[in-house]
């Protein structure tokens, strides 16, 4: 279903979406991030890339699996804690972040369906905003099989056409939400609208300034570079801070640990938290040995996971070109530069 909606009517439509928690990009404390939006009038979809990807709403940084008590001499009791019912709508998602969620879907459904992830994923509606101009100076989605107007992962894709939005609904849920706006709010697009949409979409692709040329050549080249001293050179200035992985919309490594709330009787929670390949205890064996002891092996791990291991397994790059790791790296380690150098290596 395709419709147009004037910007004036946009808050009216949002108010009619009952029964959902609405998340939108808001500017608070000097950063843009997805927050619960109480007031639809205040939502303006003109944001640059948010600091953290909306993945944290569906795959939160801390999640409780179950509670346990283990009284003396008795059988331990385990109480499962599934995510609460919270149907949500995330508004203003960029195509790169939505595509990233489709990649996470592959991981959390690979031989074992992760209940905690899927319960949230299935109850979250993604309404996207096409990128008329690149939201970050370091965007490179077109290099990794993405595009600023890609529909992957969305229920509805909105495109800003000046005074109105062009809405493309891609799923039944999207149709339902548009219908719940009632009669009179939406109008059918004219042929002129459709032509303008195509022009905006085509132009948006040309505005992206950074690129990884011939990305297809990179996975096989990487396979042969495991032992190369290239990584030592590139990782010289790495601080092992972990920002690249914490802001990445596709990174999904996690750690499971127990948090004891009382020692006698032993009571606690089993929780899952985000982990990162950049921390010193990643892949640290309990014997004390660590197969990835230094910065070079960790940088190599990050690049190869995204551009070789994931490609081999799921036939897709584990990187959607959002550019956050480039903008926020404190020492300017630039994944685009590293990949271009890798390609030249081969």
């Amino acid at each position: 279903m395709e419709k147009t909606l004037t910007k004036k009517s946009f808050p009216k439509w949002l108010k009619k979406l009952d029964g959902y928690t609405l998340y939108a990009p808001l500017f608070k404390d000097d950063v843009w991030s997805y927050q619960v939006a109480d007031n639809p009038e205040k939502i303006e979809l003109n944001h640059p890339n948010t600091v953290q990807a909306p993945k944290k709403i569906i795959y939160p940084q801390r999640e409780i699996f179950f509670e346990f008590t283990s009284p003396e001499g008795e059988h331990p009791e385990i109480k499962e804690v599934l995510p609460e019912d919270n149907p949500s709508i995330i508004l203003g998602v960029r195509p790169c972040d939505a595509k990233a969620l489709t990649l996470l879907d592959k991981v959390f459904n690979d031989g074992y369906k992760d209940e905690y992830y899927w319960k949230r994923r299935e109850s979250t509606v993604l309404i996207g905003l096409a990128c008329v101009v690149p939201p970050s100076p370091n965007c490179f989605c077109t290099s990794v099989d993405g595009s600023p107007h890609s529909k992957d992962g969305f229920d509805i894709l909105m495109t800003d056409m000046g005074d109105r939005y062009y809405m493309e609904s891609l799923t039944k849920t999207g149709d339902k939400l548009i219908d719940s706006g009632g009669k009179g709010l939406f109008t059918n697009p004219t042929a002129k609208d459709k032509k303008e949409l195509q022009k905006i979409h085509a132009d948006s692709e040309t505005k992206i300034t950074r690129a990884v040329k011939d990305a297809k050549k990179i996975p096989p080249i990487l396979k042969g570079m495991f032992e190369s001293p290239f990584w030592d050179e590139e990782a010289m200035s790495c601080l092992r801070c972990g920002i690249c992985t914490y802001l990445c919309p596709t990174c999904h490594c996690f750690d499971i640990s127990d948090e004891m709330t009382s020692i006698t009787p032993p009571q606690g929670l089993r929780i899952r938290t985000w982990d990162t390949c950049q921390f010193p205890d990643f892949t640290m064996h309990s014997s004390g040995h660590n197969p990835r002891p230094d910065k070079a092996s960790r940088l190599r791990q990050r690049i190869m996971h995204k551009y070789q291991y994931f490609v081999e397994r799921y036939k897709d790059y584990q990187c959607t070109g959002c550019g956050r790791c480039v903008s926020k790296c404190p020492v300017g380690i630039d994944i685009i530069e590293v990949l271009n150098k890798v390609r030249d290596h081969g």
Partner: protein, 343 residues
């Protein structure tokens, strides 16, 4: 004025005569105008060096890496490492020498003076230019920065876009060096602790509201810890990397292993992490501001360290990083230390 040619000349000189292993300096990065660290191994690489207000990084962190690398080598190269430092960074080197982590012979310090200005804060600059893409930032005349955008050049008074810490700078030129470039004129600062007063002026409840909200946003990425040159512990209090689990380690031992700070990024854990970090840096932090700059969520953690720096001076007369021969703050005491808070 510091000229780039002099800087390149100094770096080329020590690389050519083999006096140093490599020189750590700044080069042009790929993210707009920002500089990034450079590791120059040959004399002809010195051409890559730059010196402009976007050289914000504290390069002394890489001295810590170098020290670790040397420990792991069987026949380490004992030559010093060349490093380009600003005033604040040079104090970090003094603290590392004071703590005997490195020795004075391990570094060849090329000191560069910030003269009357300092380094640029990227958020302030972006706000000032209202989102225009910046191509270059250079030092100009009379306390101005020359900013080149896609629309041309513009002169901006440095004070409007300086990093917060530069407005409270105690050392605008290096205090320890082998080579000195620039002017040795001390910058006039009316109050080196102005930023802390804003919070000290709040009531207890207002302060709590401020910190609870700010530290509640922390995602515990530990970038602040990784960027700090003084956080060089092999095992940090939040990591559990040295707890060795063997086949005969009992379940009770594993369950009762002391975890001071849990992994979850919840309110109380974040607060305890930041407070403990501030305490561990008491008398060692030289306010290079890296912790605040690298924080992806722009949390103002620098205030915590600045407050302890102020107390160290007010209560104990202690100044960090000017003299490498004085004992550290918490492993020394004076008979006159105040005890009016003790009953």
């Amino acid at each position: 004025m510091v000229t780039l040619e002099d800087l390149k000349h100094e770096a080329t000189k020590v690389l050519k005569n083999g006096k140093v292993k490599y020189v750590i300096g700044y080069q042009n990065g790929t993210d707009q105008y920002k500089a990034m660290p450079a590791f120059l191994k040959d004399a002809d690489e010195a051409e890559k060096l730059v010196w402009n207000p976007s050289c914000v990084h504290n390069l002394t962190k890489f001295l810590v890496d170098e020290s670790r690398r040397k420990k792991g080598e069987r026949e380490p190269d004992e030559r010093p490492v060349g490093i380009v430092v600003k005033g604040c960074d040079s104090r970090a080197i003094n603290v590392l020498i004071q703590e005997k982590f490195i020795s004075r012979d391990d570094v060849h310090i090329i000191g560069v003076s910030c003269e009357s200005t300092g380094v640029v804060d990227e958020n302030k600059l972006a706000k000032k230019l209202k989102g225009k893409r910046v191509k270059k930032v250079d030092y100009g005349e009379d306390g101005h920065f020359v900013v080149t955008t896609e629309e041309g050049r513009v002169n901006i008074p440095a004070e409007e876009v300086l990093a917060e810490r530069c407005l409270e700078c105690k050392a605008n030129y290096p205090v320890v060096y082998d080579v000195f470039l620039g002017d040795k004129e001390k910058k006039k600062i009316d109050d080196p602790y102005k930023s802390v007063q804003k919070i000290e002026g709040m009531s207890t409840e207002e302060r709590w509201k401020f910190w609870k909200e700010q530290l509640g946003r922390c995602i515990r990425c530990y970038a602040c810890r990784s960027a700090c040159p003084m956080c060089y512990c092999d095992e940090c209090v939040v990591d559990t990397i040295n707890f060795v689990v063997e086949p005969d380690t009992k379940a009770e031992e594993k369950a009762q292993k002391i975890k001071w700070i849990e992994k979850s990024p919840t309110g109380s854990e974040n607060i305890v992490y930041h407070l403990v970090r501030a305490m561990h840096l008491a008398g060692r932090c030289i306010d290079c501001g890296e912790c605040e700059r690298v924080c992806p969520l722009d949390i103002p953690i620098r205030f915590l360290n600045k407050k302890l720096e102020k107390e160290a001076q007010k209560l104990f007369g202690y100044e960090v990083g000017f003299d490498p021969d004085i004992p550290s703050l918490v492993s020394s005491f004076k008979d006159e230390d105040p005890e009016d808070f003790i009953r």
